[in-house]
């Protein structure tokens, strides 16, 4: 096999949803394409391409980023969390449960990004007020739900976590 790597190809190692991954990627490869096309993680979606819609949101080292404009090489050595990494095994994350219960899911195309973005908020602030949730989700567009049920789900999930022992 000839070496097809171009000189601008880099070897990176990531932890994706808790699993170590080693890859060769071109310098310009976007994290979103690497996740979707190389790793088969199709949960994060491509929509606006300009960091506005949040459909491609994943967490890198715990912080939400738009994977559509984030270079894969920037994530070298870091933890990446996608929607597929929420919950454990067959058990859903309480946030996923809350989205279902409160009707925060419609077409689902924004849902992966919404969940991951909200997860980051709850990690920082376990029981956020509605205004805080609204502000935090300003970078996640949804054209179906009108947001009310999404906000409700995140707030309810936060409250419930406070009540859990």
């Amino acid at each position: 096999m000839p070496d097809t790597r171009t000189p601008s190809s880099f070897s990176i190692t990531l932890s994706v949803n808790g699993r170590a991954v080693a890859l060769d990627v071109p310098a310009h490869a976007l994290l979103l394409d690497v996740l979707r096309d190389r790793l088969g993680l199709k949960g994060a979606k491509r929509s606006c391409d300009v960091q506005v819609c949040g459909a491609c949101t994943v967490l890198v080292a715990g912080a939400p980023v738009s994977a559509c404009t984030y270079l894969a090489v920037e994530a070298d050595g870091l933890d990446v969390l996608t929607v597929e990494g929420l919950g454990s095994g067959e058990r859903l994350d309480p946030l996923q449960e809350a989205f279902i219960e409160h009707g925060a899911v419609q077409c689902g195309f924004c849902t992966s990004g919404m969940l991951v973005a909200a997860k980051a908020l709850l990690a920082e602030e376990p029981a956020p007020a509605p205004e805080r949730v609204v502000h935090h989700l300003r970078g996640n567009l949804c054209r179906c739900t009108g947001y009310r049920k999404v906000v409700e789900a995140v707030v309810a999930c936060g409250r419930a976590s406070g009540e859990r022992p």
Partner: protein, 766 residues
């Protein structure tokens, strides 16, 4: 099922059956699908609004390693390259002429998306620019350049068989409707007033841009996995274009990432079908959001309304003239202008009516279906002017509306379906919820508006329900799941009739090779029409179960009922698996039920009676920043008469989304053109509502009298609640600040200018 039986599942907010897939990222959309050997397509788009194509040189692009084909309009001689549901006026790729900025001119197919993108840059096209028309004013001016110089053949839509273009102009269709004594009736009016309004070009912005994946095989013909709301319409188009029988064209529809009308009728399916044929490989095309702006949009419109009322507030006469901008290709525009204009006078009794609308070509992105289908444009005008009329008569706008409402059972137009809901109940509910009769807080103003919309007729939905040997159920229905929750509703209906848990029901993915015919997932029709078909198919299965049990138990079928997965008689209870074993003599076989709903044509003005009327009321309370002109919607109440909510949580979700989408075109959304160039085809410059735009209070309520023609007394929802948003907010602004805006969106700049003009007028008057 017999009337009066207690419902178990219908009327309950059961969780969506697709929610688990969607919260885990496992739900698959077209762009998540891959086939072995799949190639990637990309489109080269016109930089000009109107130009002749002089020359295309694709040699350098073709020579790029990894490129499998570069295709132009000239290469498409082996098929019929034109499509369109009303007129077959839209070419797969531009042929000789481009008619809007962003029109596809050439397609590249390559081994990967990156190579395809690089090859696009190597295609050279020489254009000769032509004069363009990008507004209604330009397109309708005498001697205006023509977007289409010849009349294209009609498309496949039955009720558009009588298209009425005006030769030598950009008008491709007209709709005219009169009732009573027409213009003459204005002579009897005590108050006549007239005004003109405009509604902007708006982008659907489904989070998922359009996508399609096509593959040909010798046995099955063409298969397209498509983000479409109506696979059966797409199948007709492809069958005509590629000259294949319907049976050899298969459309499969995975989940849609939103539709809102923007994914009705063929969009990318023709081009991927052609490219897959040319390359003999599967081909996928996934548009960017920017390209979606250049694929379809809402038709902008200008609307002139004249109203004649008696001094006591009774509506006597109305005249509406609407020009709709269809963009460069007609798509379903002719039908939009008919439907929108037909109910221009809203839910009111107006004895004398003259309605006229024109469908106008311009050199802009083609206009198409968008939630509300022509009604928002007319309602913005009519509901605004009606408030003005109330103000001139010194009357409360809610009272004037109440006085003129059509009654339950009253005919809107002879031959069409009588009114099947209670407008007054909706109006009263909305007024009470917003606190209409109490004074608003200082600095706050309230407005109210109503709507009525026909669904689609004639119309057909067919469904199959299969009861398997283990008592589980499959529903075959071609209703597309685009977020509205249709699959869950269909599962609830089948589960209710067959007395099984929702979890025992699977709803198949729409696939024209498997799931039976459905006209379209649009017009708020699925719960009503497909819901009825699923209900009938499940009833068919239930009848078969009862007959098998009757023979087995030697009991008349009418003494038996279904309960908890079994047929139950006075002394015996036989679970479904045992009945199927009895019926087939072995542990296999299944019961198959059919449901067909097809009301057929009628004498109604649109060629078929609407199965139901969609009806909604909106009430807004706003706050205004007089310094900047910025409007904040603080409280919004929507009341929709839906007959019955099959799934109340989903109904709420539909209407909350509809209200927020309505707030978008009310407050800030507009596609802007300058010299034929679309300026804001991206989500930075084109602003859609964000979480922060959510009103402090948003309540969506429902009138449920069980009087809909759908299953369990349900009828359509989902579009209606979007429509009153603009006039409700505009009316609130007028009542709060004394300025009447006639052009949407109500941007801070427009409001601020109106406030300044008002102040100038006052100081002049003083």
């Amino acid at each position: 099922m017999s009337a009066g039986e207690r419902l178990r599942v219908v009327g309950q907010s059961v969780p969506r059956i697709d929610a688990l897939e969607k919260v885990t990222g496992r739900a698959r959309y077209v762009t998540d699908l891959e086939l072995p050997g799949m190639l990637y397509a990309a489109l080269l788009r016109s930089p000009w609004a109107h130009a002749r194509i002089v020359r295309i040189d694709a040699a350098a692009a073709r020579a790029l390693p990894g490129v499998r084909a570069v295709v132009t309009g000239a290469d498409l001689t082996w098929c019929d390259p034109y499509f369109g549901p009303a007129f077959r006026d839209r070419p797969i790729l531009a042929i000789d002429v481009v008619r809007y900025e962003g029109e596809p001119v050439a397609a590249v197919v390559a081994e990967d998306a990156e190579v395809a993108a690089r090859a696009l840059a190597l295609v050279e096209v020489e254009y000769e620019e032509q004069p363009a028309v990008t507004t209604l004013e330009e397109a309708l001016a005498p001697g205006a350049p023509l977007v289409h110089t010849s009349e294209p053949p009609a498309g496949h839509f039955a009720d558009l068989s009588s298209l009425r273009p005006v030769p030598g102009t950009n008008i491709c269709h007209q709709f005219h409707f009169e009732r009573g004594r027409g213009h003459a009736a204005f002579a009897e009016a005590d108050l006549t007033l007239e005004d003109a309004y405009s509604f902007p070009r708006v982008q659907h912005y489904s989070l998922e841009p359009h996508a399609a994946l096509a593959a040909w095989d010798d046995q099955g013909g063409l298969t397209v996995w498509a983000s479409t709301q109506n696979p059966y319409s797409v199948r007709v188009e492809l069958s005509k274009m590629f000259r294949e029988p319907l049976s050899r064209v298969r459309i499969v529809v995975p989940f849609l990432g939103g539709g809102f009308g923007g994914k009705t009728y063929a969009k990318l399916e023709p081009i991927v079908g052609a490219l897959a044929r040319i390359t003999d490989r599967p081909v996928r095309l996934a548009l960017s959001a920017e390209e979606a702006f250049r694929t379809v949009r809402r038709c902008d419109a200008r609307v002139r309304v004249r109203l004649g009322l008696r001094a006591d507030g009774l509506l006597l006469a109305a005249e509406c003239h609407a020009d709709f901008d269809l963009g460069a290709y007609a798509d379903i525009g002719p039908r939009i202008i008919q439907k929108g204009t037909y109910t221009a006078t809203g839910p009111y009794r107006v004895p004398h009516v003259v309605l006229h609308s024109n469908a106008v070509y311009t050199n802009t992105t083609p206009g198409g279906a968008f939630r509300g289908f022509g009604v928002p444009q007319l309602a913005w005008a009519f509901e605004s002017l009606l408030d003005e009329a109330a103000a001139r008569l010194g009357r409360d706008p809610v009272d004037v509306r109440r006085q003129n409402l059509l009654a339950h059972g009253e005919e809107y137009v002879p031959g069409d379906t009588p009114i099947d809901g209670k407008f007054e109940e909706s109006l009263n509910r909305a007024a009470a919820a917003i606190g209409w009769t109490q004074a608003a807080r200082p600095g706050r103003g309230r407005g109210i508006a109503m709507m009525m919309k026909a669904s689609i007729g004639p119309t057909v939905s067919e469904a199959i329900v299969r009861l398997h040997a283990d008592g589980s159920v499959t529903v075959l229905a071609s209703t597309v799941e685009m977020g509205q929750g249709a699959r869950t509703v269909m599962a609830q209906i089948a589960a209710e009739v067959l007395a099984v848990p929702v979890a025992r029901v699977t709803v198949a993915t729409p696939d024209t090779a498997i799931t039976p015919y459905d006209q379209t997932t649009s017009s708020s029709r699925s719960t009503t029409m497909m819901g009825r078909a699923v209900y009938e198919a499940a009833e068919d299965v239930r009848g078969q179960l009862l007959r098998v049990a009757a023979a087995l138990l030697k009991t008349p079928a009418h003494h038996l009922r279904v309960e908890d997965g079994a047929v139950v008689g006075r002394r015996a209870r036989v679970p479904y698996p045992a009945l199927l074993q009895e019926r087939f003599g072995m542990g296999g076989g299944e019961l198959i039920g059919r449901g067909i709903v097809a009301p057929g044509r009628s004498a109604a003005p649109l060629g078929g009676s609407t199965p139901f009327w969609e009806m909604a009321v909106g009430a807004a309370e706003i706050q205004l920043d007089e310094e900047t002109g910025a409007i904040t919607v603080e409280d919004y109440v929507s009341v929709a008469d839906v007959g019955r909510c099959i799934n109340p949580l989903q109904c709420e979700g539909q209407d909350e989304g509809a209200v927020m989408q309505g707030l978008g075109h009310t407050l800030f959304e507009e596609m802007l053109y300058e010299r034929g160039q679309l300026l804001n085809a991206n989500l930075v410059d084109y602003r859609v509502p964000r979480a922060e735009d959510l009103p402090a209070r948003l309540r969506c309520e429902f009138v449920e009298n069980g009087d809909g023609c759908g299953p369990f007394g349900a009828k359509g929802a989902g579009e209606g609640s979007l429509v009153p948003v603009s006039p409700a907010v505009g009316n609130a602004l007028a009542r709060l600040a004394g300025v009447r805006l006639r052009d949407l969106p109500l941007t801070p700049e427009r409001v601020w200018r109106a406030l300044r003009a008002r102040a100038a007028g006052q100081s002049q008057g003083a």
